[in-house]
Amino acid sequence: MTLLAVEKLDCRYGLLQAVRGVSFEVGQGETVALIGANGAGKTTLLRAIAGAHRPHGGRVLMDGADINSMPAHRRVSRGIALVPEGRRLFGGLTVMENLRVAASRRPGRWSVDSVLEVFPMLQPRRRALAANLSGGEQQAVAIGRALMSNPRLLLLDEVSLGLAPVVVDAVYRSLSGIIGEGATVVLVEQDLTRALEVAGRVICLLEGRVVLEGRAASLDRDRVVSAYFGLKRPA
């Protein structure tokens, strides 16, 4: 069943066109990785789906319903949650407050307790200000904060950025647990190996366009790499 559909989406920053006519669908329970070089439009695409960026053209559909004119906070109650690039925690709020402020009325498995269970490293830091956490802890709070709304669609933007490899491993271990429970996830990841590992399907963007799409298992690495860098540009 299709949960999210993106149709001919165009996103612009003034004259700069960041996303050009992108269309794809994400089914219930799928994990899709968006890959591509810096500036390919991945972050903009996620922000447009979450409602933080108003697209110039095209549509975003959730359960077949057009949500283009819906502000970001209402999309959260529809079940879309974005872990933004750079984490964007509320630094002056404690870990607990960061989580509790994001709690929604949507019923589901996630609460402060269950988030702390999945990210045990946060347990002793509950009363610490988010600004005083380490990078890994901050990323855990950012993911936990998104989970607090019990999303049906989780959007993850570069969760490994700026983290030590060991910490990235820990974050991804927790994530694969969440994905294993049947969550629908769209993630942006710079690390190709990791993206292919976690995702069932891969969409590669180049200069705002989809240049390659396929099952992660069926794609060979060379094809992905050349699409990623635009070595063999489709005519």
């Binding site: 979450a50 933080a52 906070h73 959260v76 964007r88 509320f90 402020v101 709304s149």
Partner: protein
Amino acid sequence: MTILNAILQGIFLGAFYAVLACGLSIMFGVMRIINLAHGDVAVLGAYIVLVIVDRTGVSAFVAFLIALPVMVVLGYALHFSVLERSLRAGILTPLLATFGLSIVIQNLLQLAFSPDVHSLGGSAGAVTTSSWQVTGGLSVSALGVLVLVTAVVVFGALQLLLSNTRLGWMMRATAEDADAAELVGINSRAVYASATALAVVIAALGGLFLGIRSVFDPVSGPTQLIFAFEAVVIGGMGSLWGTLLGGIALGIAQTLGAQIHPQFAVLAGHLLFLAVLVARFGGARVVLRTAR
């Protein structure tokens, strides 16, 4: 003993300034708006209380309770009609818009109530005149104590709101990063509007105290704004308890200044304000650079 008395009276006066400054501090803290019409909103609150007192004959305090819902509605109206639109246009526009609003409120009040001076002192009961003589040179007025206690209660309640309630967390989250707040499901428009409503209600409380302590007319607002603004800056912009302490510091400076010469009172407050400005921000040069 006169110095001690001056400091005590300064604390009472400062508590009044702190109540006036509280709403200004909330709006600056949450929305980064400096509401230049804040003093006029306080005076408008005083006039609304005056109208209720005149029509019904109740005491000023009861009239204030009746006026509360009116002020809440006014707060939301102010936000959605003026502040929200001007916020979208950058940081300078709210300053200009509220400056214009200040003039509009003053002139509407002139039209409706004439430039005559009014007071709520007569309708506030015994609290305006009672006092306790502690020792020979030290007297504590009931009104001073009432204002101080109210100020502490207001700031304490705000502290509880901000640290223990969901609305408080939403306000702090939106103040830090409105974009990220939207992404976790917070309706930032609604949060901003409730912050404005809260600020307007507390401004009206300041207006009530202004009317009981002394007199007001349609153009009393800007003077109140200056004292409130100074209290906010002395206390560290947007910090809650800092605003209370800033107000009290301003009050003490004024009453101590009055000990030297009655005309020196307001000037002493301004000098403290300038001294804090220079000390905190490293002189006028830095202030000018950051303002640009």
